[in-house]
């Protein structure tokens, strides 16, 4: 347990001190400021613009860095060979891999807290008061999405080099964002096989499950547990699947 904790702490510190961390926080703040300015331009859709730009900006920024860090959690130690110094020890490969993931998750959660703080500031600035429960959940789900993307990056990082892994992670994320939208546009006149295929992908691989912005925009403040539960279940399944696969692959990988 001692080793796990120390390896996790090490991974967290590496990311916390990474050259990307502070610029990402800065970008988050810039996005919030821009959302505020843009919403003041709009006359009617003031709240929609604020939520659209603000939360979507946070989502995009966090997702990008989560994918980058996820892949780099494996690619960097392989490149600088620091992996040799940690794996050539009594610590199990599984422990090392999970510690990398947990360290990454801690860092993404920290980023989520900072963004939530910025969002709270934005709400106060616009006289919306304290963040509602649904807003808390919206940011919570965004952080969960980042963690899943981090795990996906980690999995692909164990399979391929940095460039291939980052490209594949981004492609899979975009597929998960677009598939449900494409499925919604297909009408009854579409080819049944095609429709079935797109619906299948949209059901199995749907990253829009982490998007509560639409609900926030219509002014809803109520958290409906039966609505959130399937999202959390899906997230749990994807996370478990990614980490199990990553652990199995990494266990047998030659670290050349």
């Amino acid at each position: 347990m001692n080793a796990w904790w120390n390896l996790t702490k090490e991974s967290f510190l590496i990311l916390r001190r990474d050259r990307v961390f502070l610029p990402i926080i800065f970008i988050g703040i810039v996005v919030a400021v821009f959302a505020n300015i843009a919403s003041n331009w709009g006359v009617e859709n003031y709240q929609k613009i604020l939520f659209d730009i603000g939360l979507a900006g946070f989502r995009l920024t966090g997702a990008t860095v989560a994918m980058l860090w996820g892949v780099r959690m494996i690619a960097d130690p392989l490149k600088d060979r620091s992996i040799e110094l940690r794996i050539a020890s009594p610590s199990a490969r599984f422990s090392w891999l999970m510690s990398r993931f947990i360290g990454l998750s801690f860092c993404l959660v920290l980023m989520g807290f900072i963004f939530a703080g910025v969002w709270q500031g934005l709400m106060m600035l616009n006289n919306f008061g304290q963040m509602t429960n649904l807003q808390n959940w919206a940011i919570g789900l965004l952080v969960l999405e980042w963690i899943i993307l981090g795990a996906l990056g980690l999995l692909l990082g164990t399979l391929a080099g940095f460039s291939t892994a980052i490209f594949a992670t981004v492609a899979l994320w975009i597929t998960g964002l677009v598939a449900p939208l494409v499925a919604a546009t297909l009408g009854p006149n579409s080819d049944p096989a095609q429709l079935q295929m797109v619906e299948f992908v949209a059901n199995v691989w749907n990253f829009q499950r982490f998007n509560l912005i639409d609900q926030l925009e219509v002014g809803s403040n109520h958290v409906i547990l039966s609505d959130l539960l399937p999202r959390l279940e899906w997230a749990g399944c994807v996370l478990a699947g990614c980490l199990t696969l990553a652990a199995l692959i990494f266990q047998k990988k030659d670290l050349t």
């Binding site: 090490e10 990474d18 992996i83």
Partner: protein
């Protein structure tokens, strides 16, 4: 160099039996066989030098011992038992190419290392780290991030990292790489100190003089095979390195016959090696006085002394010649 026959007095600490490994770097490229049934023995309390050209299989062998690469065939025995992850708790490893994450500090790196090696109490960990960093001269830099460290400082930290848990087996991959002369002497002294502690050392380096002065045994790899082992065949003479020429005089304008005549006339010490390259004749001597007594007669005779002094690379050259002769016997 102290030779040891590896006889019944020594217990085998680590045995590598019939290791084979084939890599396919690319799906379109043919596979490369890196190790071809490699057998190696490392004895308890001995220092063994692993030598070989680039691509001979040294690093692959080390990585297999450390569990970073899995063999296709063969096995690794640790004190007679198949090696497991738990056995690696007794190993210290200093890698040539590995770099620590640049944003961490020496204290953080060593703290994680001790936690992995199950040094439980935080206070004992802190004390160990402080004394280790003190001993390698990094105490005042203990809270500085490594991105500001020089290559020499990184090597000193790598040494601290490899030895802080007092391993029974120390694997050193090119420990002298990138060090200045002072750093090399310091590193050599550290290795000697660990050797005195009675631990088993596996030293992998291209620097033959270091191997010859530190190691009890030598094993030479070539193309994934063991081609020479001082355990199987004692080198001629127990102090091979000491017997090799270290001081050289490069003389221009002299023939071998003239030098021979001069040797007899002035009762000079005979040279150990002689190489002729065009007008240049290089004479090799094992000690300084033997070499210096040739200077005055050479100058008096009007020969031009192009160079005089010790030359490690020339000594290594002689050593390689010796090894080549051994292989072909």
């Amino acid at each position: 160099m102290t030779m040891n026959s590896g006889g019944p007095m020594e217990a085998s600490f680590l045995s590598l039996r019939g290791l084979e490994k084939t890599f396919r770097p690319d799906a379109l490229k043919p596979p490369i066989q890196l190790l071809k049934g490699l057998d190696l023995e490392f004895f308890e309390g001995s220092c063994t030098g692993l030598v070989g050209h680039n691509g001979a299989g040294k690093t692959t062998t080390i990585r297999m011992i450390l569990g970073l690469i899995f063999p296709d065939r063969g096995q690794i025995l640790f004190r007679g038992q198949p090696m497991t992850r738990e056995h690696r708790a007794t190993i210290g490893y200093m890698a040539e190419t590995a770099r620590f994450p640049a944003t961490l500090t020496p204290t953080e790196i060593l703290s994680t290392q001790l936690a992995i090696y199950d040094v439980k109490s935080a206070s004992s960990r802190a004390k160990l780290i402080e004394s280790k960093l003190e001993s390698v001269g990094l105490f005042k830099d203990r809270h500085r991030q490594l991105k500001n460290f020089s290559k020499g400082m990184q090597q000193r930290l790598a040494w601290a990292h490899a030895t802080i848990h007092e391993p029974d087996l120390l694997i050193l991959d090119e420990p002298f790489s990138g060090l200045d002369p002072v750093g090399r002497i310091t590193m050599k002294n550290w290795i000697l100190a660990e050797k005195k502690r009675g631990i088993t050392i596996l030293l992998c380096t291209h620097e033959l003089p270091q191997i010859m002065s530190l190691c009890d045994h030598i094993q030479i790899l070539r193309n994934g095979k063991l081609v020479y082992s001082s355990l199987d065949k004692n080198l001629k003479g127990a102090k091979l390195y000491e017997s090799l020429p270290r001081y050289f005089i490069d003389v221009s304008g002299a023939t071998v016959a003239e030098l021979d005549a001069m040797k007899v006339a002035h009762k000079l010490e005979p040279w150990q090696t002689l190489h002729q390259n065009g007008f240049l004749v290089q004479l090799g001597f094992k000690d300084y006085p033997s070499a210096t007594m040739w200077l005055q007669p050479c100058l008096a005779k009007g020969f031009v002394v192009v160079r005089f002094g010790d030359d490690n690379s020339a000594t290594e050259e002689q050593l390689l010649v010796h090894f080549r002769e051994e292989f072909t016997q």
